[in-house]
């Protein structure tokens, strides 16, 4: 335990941790241990990822087979989600997704994947579990606040789930919740004044944001204040840097959305007109609002968060991939310093590019020019990060372990996602591509075969440390190849559809464009690709089954893992498996950089960070040394 070097101040309590037994509730439910909180976030987040995926599968069915009932489970879906989302078809077969249902599934798919899936898993779960271990700390600086942040998040989950089952169904105004629609949706005579989908959505978001804020304070304070002795800034594993910058993005970018969320709640609950313009006519009648509000104001406040949010979605993933690449190439990361610099520049710039989501709102030319310039600038640090990771493969002794498969696949997939974003940076091109499937293809490539692959890589990589068991290789490879092939099957055609002009968020799957679109690619019109995409979605879902089985089965029957099954150098592998309360059974001090792989003259191909320099060897410098080609 790292208590030894502390002061003699009256705060050093002698506490015998060998007998740490707080009872069932304090150990498994209301735990303040960062590892348990990480697992709680992880399990909840993965469950939501699956739920969000299933929402998408139903939507894909509707797009490929408009007006047809969902096969086999149509009746179940209709019973479960109610008649606002599903109706029987002409023959009485239940389970046709209605337009309202499509909109609510779309809005909730986006919200759930971003705020209840990716951020809790990539940032909160992996961050909570791994970061204190990697910096050699015994826990986060504020364990009770950490626990509070999880339970606040959990409350937000409840709001979101409940919103599906109230009259009128879940929120339908997109994950972006643009007013005036989001101000008037679900407020008709058949809706409850509070227990309606849209209001529950906004309330859930306020709790989710609060949880994020509490979490990010913890991450930043922990990384700054309680690194183990010897863990200097430039000896930090890149994953910790990524989480550090991500925490700052969450800390400073989320509050304006919280403010906007409160204002939208006021609009809905107290009839204010923050976002309701003057003279609004709803269903042919003037409304009771005073007017004077501005829908654009919401867009500005929303995107002020939502742009940094997309970097929140990707940075932890890049961090995980960096760790796994270094470990599985048996050489240090290429350009560690450049990557650290790039990640800071990326974080900083991410605050001043938001209006590239708003090019079509009628902004003036000067404003639009400013945002185009900053948006193009931000592609530079992103490219630096991905290039450095690719160059890290060069000359490496690559072992294609399960994590490495996903990490290597991440690189070209994220590359496609990033590169397809560049045309969107230009106002003139965006004029055509805005709100088309091209945009959907772009951002899904970055997040789905991007971050989610990084998450899978992280799961395969750290599962042995958390559980003491290895995940099964065969099931892992099934999972990998199925996911890689079919995820491309869903998202690649979206670029084709988008460039043909197919509009996003439309219930009819672009049927309106059937006659207009002449683009025929590989024998299919842009609409015919919907079928391929639906099939790919279904097969992608099947490909996750080996993963779920693997995850659960290996807990009890997986091959037992040693403390450091990957022969990695970073400090989290220097603990017993799974790490006990207090994390370390010896005093941790760090003597070298994070990627001392294949150091010339060393007796093995990796040197852990905590290994003290041998007396007959020169002291290893803090910056990583490039390994010679083997």
């Amino acid at each position: 335990m790292s208590t030894a070097a502390l002061t003699h101040a009256p705060d050093a309590h002698a506490h015998d941790d060998h007998h740490y037994d707080p009872g069932f509730w304090r150990k498994w439910v209301f735990s303040t241990d960062h590892k348990m909180i990480g697992v709680q976030y992880g399990v909840t987040g993965l469950a939501f990822l699956m739920f969000g995926f299933m929402l998408m599968m139903v939507m894909r069915w509707q797009l490929a087979h408009p007006g047809e009932a969902v096969p086999y489970i149509g009746g179940l879906l209709q019973t479960f989600f109610g008649s606002s989302a599903f109706q029987p078809d002409a023959k009485g077969l239940p389970g046709v997704l209605t337009a309202d249902g499509y909109n609510s599934f779309g809005a909730m798919h986006g919200t759930i994947m971003v705020f209840f899936g990716i951020v809790p898993v990539a940032f909160a779960a992996f961050g909570n579990f791994v970061v204190p271990l990697q910096i050699g700390a015994i826990d986060m600086t504020f364990p009770k606040i950490n626990m509070a942040s999880f339970w606040c998040f959990f409350i937000s989950c409840i709001f979101m789930l409940v919103s599906f089952f109230v009259p009128g169904g879940a929120a339908k105004s997109g994950w972006t919740s643009y007013p005036p629609l989001s101000g008037i949706a679900d407020l008709g005579p058949l809706n409850h004044v509070f227990m309606n989908g849209q209001t529950l959505w906004v309330t859930g978001m306020v709790f989710n944001i609060t949880a994020s804020l509490l979490g990010s304070v913890n991450f930043i304070a922990t990384i700054i204040q309680i690194r183990a002795p010897g863990m200097t800034w430039m000896r930090l594993p890149f994953f910790v840097w990524a989480q550090f910058v991500t925490a700052f993005l969450l800390l400073l970018a989320f509050p304006p959305l919280e403010a906007a969320g409160v204002m939208q709640l006021m609009d809905r609950a107290f009839d204010t007109s923050f976002f309701m313009p003057t003279g609004l006519i709803v269903n042919g009648a003037t409304t009771q609002w005073s007017g004077g509000g501005s829908p654009i104001l919401w867009q500005h406040l929303f995107w002020f968060l939502a742009h940094p949010e997309v970097y929140v979605l990707i940075l932890p993933g890049i961090g995980m991939v960096a760790e796994i690449i270094a470990c599985n190439t048996r050489k240090p990361l290429y350009g560690y310093k450049a990557m650290v610099g790039a990640i800071f520049v990326l974080g900083f710039l991410s605050f001043i590019v938001w209006a590239h989501h708003m090019y079509m709102t009628g902004m003036g030319a000067k404003v639009s020019a400013f945002f185009q310039v900053t948006t193009i600038m931000i592609s530079v640090p992103s490219v630096i990060l991905v290039t450095a990771l690719m160059l890290s493969l060069w000359g490496g002794s690559i072992r294609f372990t399960m994590p490495m498969l996903f990490a290597t696949a991440f690189l070209p997939m994220f590359g496609i996602g990033g590169l397809t974003g560049i045309p969107l940076a230009f106002n003139a091109v965006d004029l055509y591509l805005h709100d088309t499937y091209y945009v959907i293809g772009h951002f899904h490539y970055v997040v789905a075969p991007g971050t989610i692959f990084a998450i899978f890589a992280g799961v395969y990589h750290w599962y042995p440390k958390a559980t003491g068991r290895m995940l099964n290789e065969f099931l892992g490879r099934l999972h990998f190849w199925g996911s890689l092939i079919f995820i491309n099957g869903i998202f690649f055609p979206m670029f084709l559809q988008g460039m043909a002009g197919v509009h996003r968020r439309w219930y009819d799957g672009g049927a309106t464009y059937e006659q207009l679109s002449n683009a025929v690619v590989m024998g299919k019109s842009s609409i015919q690709w919907n079928s391929t995409m639906a099939t790919s979605a279904f097969l992608l879902g099947l490909a996750q089954i080996p993963f779920i089985i693997n995850f659960c089965w290996s807990l009890f029957h997986g091959r037992k893992a040693s403390d450091n099954p990957w022969d990695a150098t970073t400090v989290e592998w220097d603990t017993p498996t799974p790490p006990p309360h207090g994390n370390f059974t010896k005093e941790i001090s760090v003597h070298r950089g994070p990627y001392e792989y294949s150091v010339p003259g060393a007796d093995k191909d990796f040197t852990p960070q905590t290994e003290a320099p041998k007396s007959d060897q020169p002291h290893v410098p803090a910056t990583p040394v490039a390994a010679p080609a083997h």
């Binding site: 101040a9 700390a137 304070v217 204040q225 403010a259 204002m263």
Partner: protein, 341 residues
């Protein structure tokens, strides 16, 4: 198992954990209130002439609340200094005063400032009817002086003229009884009724409007000074001393009204943002009061910590003090922005 630097500072940063944590949290709070203030700017700049009121808030009361918060800021830092000097009874004194000041601030807001708004009535007049109400609005006079027009008539509701469907008489009578109101036939038009009573607030009238068969026809309002005497140069600008509604009555036909309500959040974007910011600020004041109370009471994590670990208690008081000063800081901006400008 002790987390390092909980009480003693880390040498390279010079900070103990909670101090770093609270400053990070305050940075996010700056962004939160920044978002709200930027909304204020946006909405104010976007407001049409006459739709952004001035002079509706009670300045002396607001100034007094400002003074209360400033005083509590002083006392909380004195409480911290007392702890650093290990003077426990002084700590209890200063901290106790801070708590009382915070509570007083909330009481003034929740028992006077806010409720007073819900009793007040305001009606925005339709553009084509403005000329008709010139005697209450004084727009010719304002135009001469190159001042923005008045489009609102405000005051206290005196009576409401309604047309009631005789078939639904019972429902109306139940309603009137419940709210201690009475309805008399109008002296000029027997088909209409005049509703009056001691507690005729806009909220009650909104409920009245929803009684089946009831249609609102006109309001009779005990006018505010600016509507009672609109051409008086004194009415051109706001004044320090708050003047309530006068005795002068004015009649407003509902057909000429664009929108009406009490001075509730929905009245205008001004009140929307006023209630939202002061409400959120008030929640922060409440949170601060509760935490300060926790540190003041003789409990394990509170004042009883003095014997065991006075430095840790001093740090906790410093941290809550920083939060409290931030709350004061926000109010220092809120006061002129909403009450004076």
């Amino acid at each position: 198992m002790q987390i390092p630097h909980e009480v003693t500072a880390r040498p390279d940063t010079g900070l103990y954990n909670a101090k770093l944590g609270i400053w990070l949290f305050l940075a996010s709070e700056v962004m939160l209130f920044g978002g709200l203030f930027s909304a204020y700017i946006f909405l104010r700049m976007g407001a049409e002439d006459g739709y952004w009121p001035r002079g509706l808030l009670n300045v002396p009361v607001g100034a007094a609340n400002t003074a209360i918060l400033i005083a509590s800021s002083v006392t909380v830092v004195l409480a911290w200094a007392s702890l650093k000097m290990r003077k426990f009874s002084q700590y209890k004194l200063w901290m106790g005063i801070s708590i009382l000041c915070g509570a007083l601030f909330l009481i003034v807001k929740l028992a006077y400032e806010w409720p007073q708004k819900f009793d007040h009535f305001g009606a925005f007049i339709k553009k084509d009817a403005l000329e008709h109400y010139e005697q209450y609005l004084g727009n010719h006079h304002l135009k001469e002086k190159k001042l923005p027009p008045r489009v609102e008539i405000s005051g206290h509701l005196h009576e409401v003229e309604i047309a009631a469907d005789p078939a639904e008489k019972e429902k109306l009578e139940v309603f009137l009884k419940r709210h201690d109101l009475e309805a008399k036939p109008d002296e000029h038009d027997a088909k209409l009724q005049v509703v009056k009573g001691k507690h005729l607030t806009p909220g009650v009238v909104e409920d009245l409007k929803r009684v089946p068969g009831v249609k609102l026809i006109a309001f009779e309002v005990a006018l505010d000074p600016i509507n009672a005497d609109p051409t008086n140069p004194e009415s051109d600008k706001p004044h320090f001393w708050y003047k309530g509604a006068t005795e002068k009555l004015g009649k407003i036909e509902v057909k000429d009204v664009e929108s009406w309500s009490s001075f509730a959040p929905k009245h205008s974007t001004y009140f929307a943002v006023y209630f939202t910011i002061t409400g959120l600020h008030g929640l922060h004041v409440l949170a601060g009061v509760l935490i300060m109370l926790y540190l003041w009471l003789p409990i394990e994590g509170g004042a009883n910590m003095f014997k065991r670990n006075p430095e840790h208690l001093a740090n906790r008081v410093e941290v809550v003090g920083l939060f409290w000063h931030f709350v004061d800081l926000v109010w220092i901006f809120v006061f002129p922005i909403f009450y004076l400008l």
